[in-house]
């Protein structure tokens, strides 16, 4: 559904009605309208080694507020689990929302974004597209700010440590034609410490666009372990922007499984702003069929003694494309900063296209930085060794690949999620 970009401003009345139907605060509508004005003027973000200006990303969502004509049954995808901290959304609707009483009492907020906007507007305003992702950054972010149609808000108060991971599952409703403009906002207050896991899926085969923005903001000393398994569908064209913003001595550890089946840009960024803050980004990807997935991981060291680590491993099958860009950027003045990265791609087919592209931008002298990148095939020596112990070729290959992707899998804190990722990987590898 190609929309001429100059038509976007014509949606301003529809947006006003949409916003007021959701009882959004005034500032939210203002943000939407000013972003709407800017979409046409802004450029697409530059993603190295990818031209995607013709991708159908510009589908405007249904703004009538009417419920979807067909709805998704969430239990096709998830088990019933009482009393876990969990939010499940199908399309724009929140269908399950559970939070243990003990967490509620301590002030944890874990609810859909529009409820949060009504109940905690100031808290949301502090963080929503204010620090990590900015509406005016580029065409994608402006479009997102204007047309965001549903989302999730997670707030963890000061000094609170949560043992069990909080879980969110988002099922894109492609039984109907509608854009998926989802926003996840995670706000970790000072010295909080928790894990969050999320899963993105698609139900249905309609050709839809998705513009997803996930923001994680860590206040001083906060520590967030973020993991995700993305499994959006073959007919979904996706721009996936996850971005972290760290205050002093805080950290965000990302473990991301990029397992979509359509064309996807993964724009994973972390701004290490506060002194002594750190991020560890681990991503695995599998591309198969004829799809293209590009994972563009970008860590910017602004603060002194900040540490950024990018580690991405991927496998390509069939005629698919998988590209890893690793961008480590140390700005002038970030003394003692460290930027490390490793990107490796394993090609399992002659027709596959892979790229591992390290980019280091260093504008300060007193820093450490390093990178490693490779594109290759399964090592015949490794295969020989495994097979010489009796293991069949297909099983040996699976073991090598599992090993190759293992570091990310083991970084995910929730067993069901790990198993899910392993199963997804096995399924993709055996469907060859």
């Amino acid at each position: 559904m190609a929309i001429k970009t100059k038509d976007f401003v014509s949606y301003s009345d529809a947006l006003k009605a949409f916003s007021s139907g959701l009882k959004e605060p005034e500032w939210m509508l203002e943000m939407r309208l000013s972003a709407l004005e800017q979409i046409d003027k802004l450029e697409l973000p530059v993603i190295e080694r990818l031209r995607y200006n013709r991708w159908p990303l510009w589908q405007v969502p249904n703004l009538t507020g009417a419920p979807a004509a067909k709805t998704v049954d969430p239990f096709e995808f998830v088990d019933d689990k009482a009393d876990a901290a969990r939010v499940i959304q199908t399309g724009n609707d929140t269908v399950i929302e559970t939070l243990p009483e003990s967490l509620k009492e301590k002030g944890v907020i874990f609810t859909d974004l529009h409820t949060a906007l009504r109940e905690h507007p100031d808290l949301v305003k502090e963080a929503y597209m204010a620090k990590a992702i900015k509406p005016e950054s580029n065409k994608i972010t402006a479009f997102h700010a204007a047309f965001m149609n549903s989302g999730l808000f997670l707030y963890v108060p000061k000094n609170l440590e949560i043992e069990e991971p909080l879980e969110a599952i988002f099922i894109q409703n492609s039984l109907v034609e509608d854009a998926f403009v989802k926003h996840v906002l995670i706000y970790a207050d000072t010295h909080s410490n928790f894990s969050y896991v999320e899963k993105f899926l698609t139900k249905g085969d309609e050709k839809n666009a998705a513009n997803i923005a996930v923001e994680v903001i860590t206040k001083p000393g906060a520590q967030v372990k973020f993991s995700a398994v993305d499994q959006l569908g073959e007919n979904s064209t996706v721009y996936f922007n996850r971005k972290g913003y760290t205050h002093r001595d805080s950290s965000i550890d990302w473990a991301l499984g990029v397992m979509n089946t359509g064309n996807v840009v993964c724009d994973f960024d972390t701004d290490l702003v506060g002194e002594g803050s750190a991020t560890d980004l681990k991503a695995v990807g599998i591309s198969s069929g004829r799809q293209t997935q590009v994972i563009d991981s970008n860590v910017v060291n602004y603060g002194n003694n900040t540490e950024g680590n990018i580690f991405q491993h991927g496998v390509i099958l069939d005629r698919a494309t998988l590209t890893f860009n690793g961008i480590g950027h140390i700005v002038k003045g970030a003394k003692g900063a460290d930027a490390q990265q490793e990107s490796r791609v394993l090609m399992l087919s002659d027709k596959a296209r892979g790229d591992a592209n390290p980019i280091l931008l260093i504008q300060e002298n007193e820093v450490t930085a390093g990178h490693a990148a490779s594109v290759g095939r399964v090592d015949p020596e490794e295969m020989y060794y495994l097979m010489s112990r009796g293991i069949e070729q297909s099983e040996a290959e699976r073991l090598v690949i599992r090993g190759f992707l293992g570091k990310v899998i083991s970084a995910i804190p929730m067993k069901s999620m790990r198993d899910d990722l392993v199963q997804t990987i096995e399924r993709k590898l055996t469907s060859r």
């Binding site: 020989y384 060794y385 009796g390 069949e392 040996a396 073991l399 599992r402 570091k407």
Partner: protein, 257 residues
Amino acid sequence: MAVLEIKNLHVSIEDKEILKGVDLKMQTGEIHAIMGPNGTGKSTLSAAIMGHPSYEVTEGEVLLDGENVLEMEVDERARAGLFLAVQYPSEIAGITNAEFMRAAINSRREEDDKMGVMDFITKLDEKMAVLDMPEEMAERYLNEGFSGGEKKRNEILQLMMIEPTFAILDEIDSGLDIDALQVVSTGVNAMRGEGFGSLIITHYQRLLNYITPDVVHIMMDGRVVKTGGAELAKQLEAEGYKGLMEELGLDIEIEED
């Protein structure tokens, strides 16, 4: 009783002939040693038997109970009963040692007869104790970051777990100190018996003080030039390869060290 027979084996690497007609026959219950100077083709022989893709067999046969293993894939050879402990095993991150060994054992078993976790762990603990290996090595990634000695022990651990019919041990002694040598030898000696045969490749006589061979073969320039009993190894130690060559009337360039 099983029989392994190598007949007139010729092997080339990159069009250069390394093995020039090797003949050797052994059966279970026996331990054979192959000794020879560096660069003679001992590792080539073991790799060709196991089916390493870089080695091209141009002539000859390797028969396991009459079946030509050269027509089998590498994994089929292993499941048929062959095992090769190599000098430089691969390091594979992401696969634990234990997981790998269990996959190897279960590759030999029927779907309804797979070895369960408990039985596996019991057996693993027992064998690791024999080899004086700390428990945590089971959960480490396959050979990753192992020292030379740890890798050798790990090869013998796999041997003891898999229990093949014939094991070829390629210079399992190189780089080991006396203590490690004793431990590794204890492992191999524990395997000794009716249903097991081993072909031990070594450059030095030292290992044969701990594992007494039934038969010793001397290999030079791609051929077995002399076969005898355990005393042949002693003779070699006393006279060196040069002495033996004089006795046999051979004129071969060797690297003596």
